[in-house]
Symmetry: C2
Subunit: 399 residues, 2 copies
């Protein structure tokens, strides 16, 4: 069919409606001793891609991890040699600083791209990222933007990364003083959770990751929250079995949300998994990242739960149970930065975080609050005065 353009007048050619559907499949695996020579998981994941072998592989490793696992790089190299029919380590692993520093230095992004180029990594090779959430966010962004997206296998090594950030579809780095200003949506090729890494976490990182589990339980799964509440003391004492339950269930809830929300790439304005996060993001910035993400999220959860209570939604007993659980886990629920500046015009005012959160999501302000434990509700306006009252309650550790 050739158009009859003789009949065309101004503005008349019919628009072409395009609909693009893209499906991403990946698995989140659970294991121990991932680089033990008798652990087949990593090699199998690569072997099963159905393509000619061996495959080129490069790795980016969290420098913080190496402090407690100094033999890791040697073990990884040995694992690669021992599986040389399946994978070829095409360059020396790149070590990057751990923690938020990974996301604050744009040179690291370029270093990873350089590694990809030097090693001749293509869209069917593998970039293996080993580390905490911040490092995986950085490496994920680098992978998503090299050759328009190369395969990344994430090996998260912290509670937070294993149950939340590393199982999802987001990546990002900080820019212009804003958290995750640069980033994209890019599902991983696979996620391999090795519980053994959790042994090497310091106490703060062990605890931090539990905050996201509390969060998703509070908005989605009352039974799971009860489990966390019942095991809070055990978890604080680093009970590994309880922690494995928390990670598995939390990862599953996050994955279910992404798969069933109908908005995996967050084109709308609703983001229930960011319950407690508007304040958390701002507090991380206000403390210059002295506060770890999970610690900030715990305060954010406490704050938004208290606000939900003050608004007359969340019952008093449930509110108390939330605060008690967070405290039993070992979280501090008040820091001076909450009240440092009360004038919204001041850049260091906590409540600027509301608008920064809105701006990052886009569209109108959409906050998730609690009606009951396990039952979320969205609101589009909040009262600052009520939030100030909530902070005042949190400042009293006896509440």
């Amino acid at each position: 069919m050739i158009l009859d353009l003789k009949r065309k007048t101004k503005f008349e050619l019919k628009p072409i409606q395009q609909r693009v559907e893209v499906t991403f499949n990946y698995a989140v695996h659970f294991t121990n001793g991932i680089f033990d020579l008798d652990n087949p998981l990593l090699a199998e994941v690569i072997a099963n891609d159905g393509e000619a072998k061996p495959k080129k592989v490069v790795a980016v490793v969290d420098g913080g991890l190496l402090e407690s696992r100094s033999g890791l790089l040697d073990q990884f190299r040995e694992y690669c040699r021992s599986n040389s029919d399946i994978l070829t380590l095409s360059a020396e692993p790149l070590v990057v600083p751990g923690g938020e520093a990974a996301k604050n230095n744009p040179q690291l992004l370029e270093d990873i791209h350089q590694l990809v180029d030097d090693a001749g990594i293509c869209r069917h090779s593998y970039l293996i990222a080993i580390g905490g959430g911040a490092v995986l966010d950085l490496v994920g962004f680098a992978a998503a933007t090299a050759h328009r997206g190369i395969r990344i296998i994430r090996i998260p090594t912290t509670v937070l990364a294993q149950n939340d950030s590393a199982v999802g579809v987001k990546n990002g780095i900080n820019a212009f003083g804003k958290k995750n200003f640069l980033g994209s949506f890019a599902p991983p090729y696979a996620v391999l959770n090795d519980f053994d890494f959790l042994d090497s976490l310091d106490e703060r990182d062990w605890r931090s990751g539990i905050a996201e589990a509390v969060k998703v339980a509070l908005i989605r799964d009352r039974e799971f929250f009860e489990f966390i509440a019942d095991n809070a003391a055990l978890l604080a004492r680093r009970d590994m079995e309880a922690m494995q339950q928390v990670i598995y269930r939390c990862a599953k809830l996050h994955l279910q949300h992404i798969a069933t929300s109908g908005d995996a790439f967050e084109m709308g304005s609703s983001r229930p998994l960011d319950f407690g996060h508007w304040a958390a993001h701002k507090l991380e910035q206000l403390t210059n990242y002295r506060l770890r993400h999970g610690e900030a999220v715990a305060i954010g959860i406490a704050l938004d739960s208290t606000y939900s209570y003050l608004q007359g939604m969340l019952p008093h007993a449930e509110w108390q149970k939330i605060l008690n659980t967070l405290r039993t886990l070992g979280f501090e629920l008040y820091i001076p930065e909450l009240t440092e500046e009360s004038q919204i015009e001041h850049p260091r005012c906590l409540f600027r975080g509301l608008n920064e959160f809105r701006e990052h999501l886009g569209g109108e302000l959409t906050l998730t609050l609690l009606q009951r434990i396990g039952q979320e509700i969205e609101v589009h306006t909040v009262k600052i005065s009520l939030y100030q009252q909530a902070i005042s309650l949190l400042s009293d550790a006896k509440i």
Copy 2:
């Protein structure tokens, strides 16, 4: 359900299989005089998002375009003022260099991110990109990576961008001396094709864009190729009606391919729309971008068609018709860079382009050749000697 972890042994926790489906919808519109005050298209596209108005808007404009359309910025500002109930121009439009220079300067990417930050553009605001394919590639990448992807409305101003690059889902910039080394897949919010911009193209850019139409016709649509062949002389004389047909039909074929290939984000190794492109990309690099993309694609098409003929697939008469059509359109089918270096080890050898192409797509080499006009075939190995014979044929303008 809480897991019975007592029963867990090493490697035993069941993997979680994740499936993420994402759907993108956008329209490609055709118009004239897009910033005429009585043209409602742009305002309507924004008005129809169903969200609170007015919306914040920023624009990035191709500096090359302003040379022939010096009043464009004033007209655009006036259009925004006249539709202030729907959109607010939140910052002065940013002008960037046109052509491949746009993709070779990483500072421009940062400039656009800075603009997004300065203007407080969120995921529900609009970045409007006005220009040729290279500028739209740059701005598309910036938009895809700011706040994990802000809305972009593409207003392509060249034949090539209107019928090919700007209607699709890809963006990118050059890095490490490689074309599109950095980039992502990110569908636009909308594409607005204004035919009036084509009047301001120089002869080379007018012609260049037709190469992609010849390409997609050759692999997909014999009838469309016949149309181009029949109208080649008219097109070379800048007949606007014939060009509009070419653009509409070519855009539609590209969009159909993306929607129905089952691999819109190119996770496999097959990329039929890159017929003729392995040589084209290399020739652009070898000529230091003296050759425009479409001019390089025309040579690539001629080369791969000649190879298809020499391999005994494409009939002699059809091969001749392809070369004649390209020549009638005004394309040169031979340049010295085709034979400059015959040793594959030399970085300037044309045939290095085969491996660079494979590496960018990933996996095994997959080239599209022609069985007949309108009928493609994929091959995974090629004979360099046959390609050398093909080049030798092309060097003889009488063939």
